[in-house]
Homo-oligomer: 407 residues x 2
Amino acid sequence: MEKIKGGVTAAKGFEAASLAAGIRYQGREDMAMIFSKTPCECAGTFTTNVVKAACVLWDKDIVESGNPMHAVVVNSGIANACTGNEGFEACINTAEAVEEALGVPHDTVAVASTGVIGMQLPIDKIVDGVGAMSKVLSDSIEAGEYASKAIMTTDTVNKEIAVTFTIGGKTVTLGGMSKGSGMIHPNMCTMLGFLTTDIAISKKLLQKALSEVVKDTFNMITVDGDTSTNDTLLIMANGLAGNPKVDKENDDYVTFKTALCYVCEDLARRMAADGEGASKLFTAKVVNARNKEDARILARSVVGSNLSKAAIYGCDANFGRFLCAMGYSGADFDQEKVELYFESEAGKLKVFDKGSLPAFDEDLAKEIMKASEVTVLIDMNDGNAAATAWGCDLTEKYVEINADYRS
Amino acid sequence: MEKIKGGVTAAKGFEAASLAAGIRYQGREDMAMIFSKTPCECAGTFTTNVVKAACVLWDKDIVESGNPMHAVVVNSGIANACTGNEGFEACINTAEAVEEALGVPHDTVAVASTGVIGMQLPIDKIVDGVGAMSKVLSDSIEAGEYASKAIMTTDTVNKEIAVTFTIGGKTVTLGGMSKGSGMIHPNMCTMLGFLTTDIAISKKLLQKALSEVVKDTFNMITVDGDTSTNDTLLIMANGLAGNPKVDKENDDYVTFKTALCYVCEDLARRMAADGEGASKLFTAKVVNARNKEDARILARSVVGSNLSKAAIYGCDANFGRFLCAMGYSGADFDQEKVELYFESEAGKLKVFDKGSLPAFDEDLAKEIMKASEVTVLIDMNDGNAAATAWGCDLTEKYVEINADYRS
């Protein structure tokens, strides 16, 4: 597997476009579109929130229908959630605009929105935007990059990645983009993410790989514990790589899944690091746990704790908060077996040792925690399972951003 | 029922004392003691965190043993959690110091600690403190007030309350004190709280009343979603009111339970309002829900959401965040039935109406949300159950307090 430049336009046959449609932001692009003339197998994972945005319902229908997918239209600024029938009509109108402009059936067009909940989309601007973007679709690296910028809300950097790998002697490309960066909490997939690949693969295995990979990547990040109404992760596979079709769980499937996991983990980590107001990436790595599910629960509880996040921000090796967060996670364990370390490029330090309190160098602890990526390593000494979760610190900036978001 | 001045020393036969023992704070009292020469029936509820402080384990043993209770010794500054055998020894030594000073068996002495996790108590200071406090016990209102101040950590105000009511022609008194104000999340009882009463009641009914009342009071508050390792709520009943003993669930029991609920709700609300960094009390009131459990889950999810809390701080009527928090709460519902209002002394405003978005006066919304107590009223229009949860806004101050707590 090789990392290459690019994002959603890296794979063969995928084009993108973006546009400043003036939906709610001024002076920046706020619409994007991904298009494949060749029909794609598609798979998706969606928010588990009972309050689902109109576009989530629309996309779920497409993914579950077995239809191919040709396009995704995304806007930032308004989430099209809690918008009733009018919101659902907006999805249909958007998809119909793509049908009119590009000649693909409207039920092969996914839509996604992110931004303020409880506000109607200016549907005329969206429809006009689709028309305009349809005329400037491009398979250039730059088109993909601009698309990844157009879908940002409070993100401070865009997130895209692409890799190539070989299946049956053919080079296959997988690329993607995603956006955060608030209302992020692991419960299905927690954000907007779009992946494109030219692999030939069955729909069943595409969905299987995506659903499994999500558990250890996008579902393991948290920014603020709020599971969004709009979380959507879509993957489109148009088969243009010309590889022998992957329709069994053989080595080729494993090769694809490994690449998919790499891409998803990279995007997920970057979303956590760019969490609203974040000054650093905060990773919790649980090892030697009783089972995988416990390892996941423990790691997520630690990176999700406001008090742990504030301690990371303050470079305070207040390890009791981390143990406390493990304690209320829902996983059962014996603190007399637990070892806890702080780790970064500046070093590694044990701060809790199976129920006893080792004397540790507070200055070194501060140094370790000052790094831009800090890991809490938790050795449960109680089995063989491991899991990693990614989050960020809690800063005054998070409060500033969210006390005044809508206005 | 009548509200009277006082706290834990209001009921007959209860004395208190407090002391600056220099455990971790300087220039303030950090130890308190409650004592009843007459043995008390006792009941308690404790943290559900797997990582339980040594004192929680000690107190649970006493409450579950059926022993009477004579005293509680409390310290602030260090939580005696994650402290292994040495921490448990500290509990025994503290209780033995009370036995030596006051002649009551050490297994009738509860202990409670609050503060930094993962640090050993200076046990000599604690033992000396018990000796000193034992000599100055007083049943004065002031002694109770000082005790309620000595147990504070990041609290900005002390919390105490007392009421009287009549059972069988006798005046019964119930008083209490509690402290917050971080690591507060509803899961059993969420803080330290101590209630004293001179009612004559069976241990069984005392525990039953406490366990039931906690569900709608202390378990309905949240500050930061972190369930502490030390949460403890104890009630001591010495029977000195001389009422006919309450040992059946009759009218007298209901009278007592009503008073208990009033006292617990008052303390719980004040803990929420004094949450770390809070600038206002944030109440979520769910009405007409399918069932009580759903009502509780929905109300708690709303007051627990970082994004809702930040919107309350910013006086931003961003109602989508509240619907989003309801959506991921775990309770199922139909958003097409939900009505959502913001309410305070400045007025009441409907912002979401069964799936549609009513135009509302943004200036009035701001006025309503500027009040020091803001309520989100959520009408589910789907049944008869109701629940109220109390929290606070999320401010930069919360981050400041917790980024630099231990140092």
